[in-house]
Symmetry: C2
Subunit: 331 residues, 2 copies
């Protein structure tokens, strides 16, 4: 009996060793499920994420443009803001965004907490102010009680609001894609064509920027490295943050996780399909024209990156009271 | 032992008898949980209800104005439509709407299925066409497969779309409010003040229109019966449907179920609070000025009508494909 356990252990160790070596040898690592979350804070953050009362109109919530039914995006070229204003840039997915080197296409927010306050107060997005958002929440007793339970103080602040939204967003990871199953040793999880697409993705150089667990999100790169990118979008990228001319058109490399769901593509949202996006990336970044077969093969690989989408109950929001400032959609 | 069972049965029968007589004697009946649903159709309908691709912009879904996080309403005076158009009338709650005598404030749709197609094609709301909505769905293989599973045919039609949305909406009932618990015999479920509010609600005549399981929704009544209602809203009510002058300003009596969540009130959304709504109803419909104490007592009763909100997982929508017509938010 003892001998049998010993042998079984050896076999198990052998398997684990093999799996680890597959993972270690690849430039992409599996997404880890979230651990160590403060559940009470996550639940509060989920409510806030879905609450349109954080906008001037009472109509736009975080979920309006980072829709968790739709890959954490709005699937529009650029978003619709207060009074139907056309946004300046494509809304990046919130999925796996905690792995980003920084937030926004130009990286102007260091982390999710710093990002969360931006759209609330942006006149072209939710068009509210942090003070008014906090006033709304303070007028709603179940929110006041929930903030107190989570943060242990009687004062409700915008800092707590963005902290809770970020805590919720950190749970929005998408593990267990077919590609991750393959990385972890299940050789049947992706097809031969998809595996060939991955080989091409590596060999042709895509992986130079799209690597790590998020398959991107961890560096800034110039859009139009080999050939200039032709766009009407005036966004300057990282240069707008650093003021350095060398950073013009440098944008955060987007994650390719769930890329099948996060169309349209690029900071201007001009590539409607994965086929277009792969073709343009090949020509502009790698100086390579993928054949139709090669393109289809890379696209097939990219679709294996769709992971388990966040699964949760639609939150029920506590009602406003007679003291709650009224939304002003048409002012 | 036999004798004990016999006695227990007698006691149980006695209790059931008492509960039934309480219910039978009251003009309001408890909400029944839904039964006999086609789960596959409900799941499809839920996806469609949350899918903004049924709008021209790709931004507005049924849930935008009938938000299930917010009592099945948008909590705005009048809704925001395509291109931020201001809607002509307050969005009624979708909760318990299957009990309505007809749909819309003026009853122009006979049932939920007839209603569901309206906003999709209304130029001021989702601004799409039924043909384009069906084209979008037909371009998405998982939708095509799901329609086939539910309806057993290869043709995907707008009739099936509205049927599935209505099937989902029929599940949006809110049983087990504190008032229903009281109706069913739990005398401690509401306070003495709330019970006094209910007595006043009955004695002063509110219950003449707000009765039945939905506490309304089952008749059309003139807004401003005793005194004229002063509004800038041009809606004519039932007269717009029947063409009869006698039906001017007759609107469907709204359900008072979950009324704490469905602010603001009336077809023009001009009453921001329950206090205002109760005061106006007293003066305009009953020729009665409620004192501050009476008003508060009725409001306390109304808040016991908040039931269990629909509880379900946020649906994950199947992605568009290269064949899917693009949304046109800014055309």
């Amino acid at each position: 009996m003892k001998r049998q356990i010993w042998l079984t252990s050896l076999v198990l160790l052998g398997c684990i060793g093999a799996v680890q070596s597959v993972v270690a040898a690849e430039p992409i690592q599996p997404i880890e499920p979230v651990a160590d979350v403060n559940l009470a804070e996550v639940e509060l953050g989920k409510k806030l994420y879905f609450d349109p009362r954080l906008s001037k109109s009472g109509f736009i919530s975080c979920n309006s443009c980072h829709n968790l039914s739709m890959g954490g995006t709005d699937n529009l070229k650029t978003s619709i803001g207060h009074n139907w204003q056309q946004g300046p840039i494509n809304s990046p997915t919130v999925l796996n965004s905690s792995m980003n080197i920084a937030q926004f296409w130009d990286g102007r927010a260091a982390d999710l907490k710093a990002q969360a306050g931006g759209p609330i107060a942006n006149p072209g997005e939710m068009a509210f102010t942090h003070t008014l958002a906090v006033d709304v929440l303070k007028s709603i007793p179940p929110y006041v009680a929930e903030f107190k339970r989570v943060f242990g103080t009687d004062t409700l602040t915008i800092d707590q609001v963005t902290d809770a939204i970020a805590a919720f967003e950190k749970t929005l990871v998408t593990p267990n894609s077919r590609f991750d199953q393959w990385l972890l040793g299940d050789t049947g999880a992706i097809s031969a064509d998809e595996e060939a697409g991955y080989a091409l993705f590596k060999n042709s150089g895509c992986v130079a920027c799209h690597n790590g667990p998020a398959v991107g999100g961890n560096s800034f790169q110039k859009m139009g490295l080999v050939a200039a990118y032709d766009t009407k979008n005036p966004a300057k990228g990282l240069a707008g943050v650093t003021g350095k001319d060398a950073d013009r058109f440098k944008f955060k490399v987007p994650t390719l996780r769930n890329v099948e769901l996060t169309y349209p593509y690029f900071h201007d949202g001009e590539a409607e399909t994965l086929t277009e996006a792969v073709d343009l990336m090949g020509r502009l970044q790698l100086g390579r024209k993928f054949s139709a077969e090669e393109n289809a093969s890379v696209v097939a690989f990219l679709k294996t990156l769709t992971g388990e989408q966040p699964s949760f109950m639609l939150p029920i929001l506590p009602p406003s009271t007679e003291r709650t400032p009224q939304p002003k959609p048409f002012d």
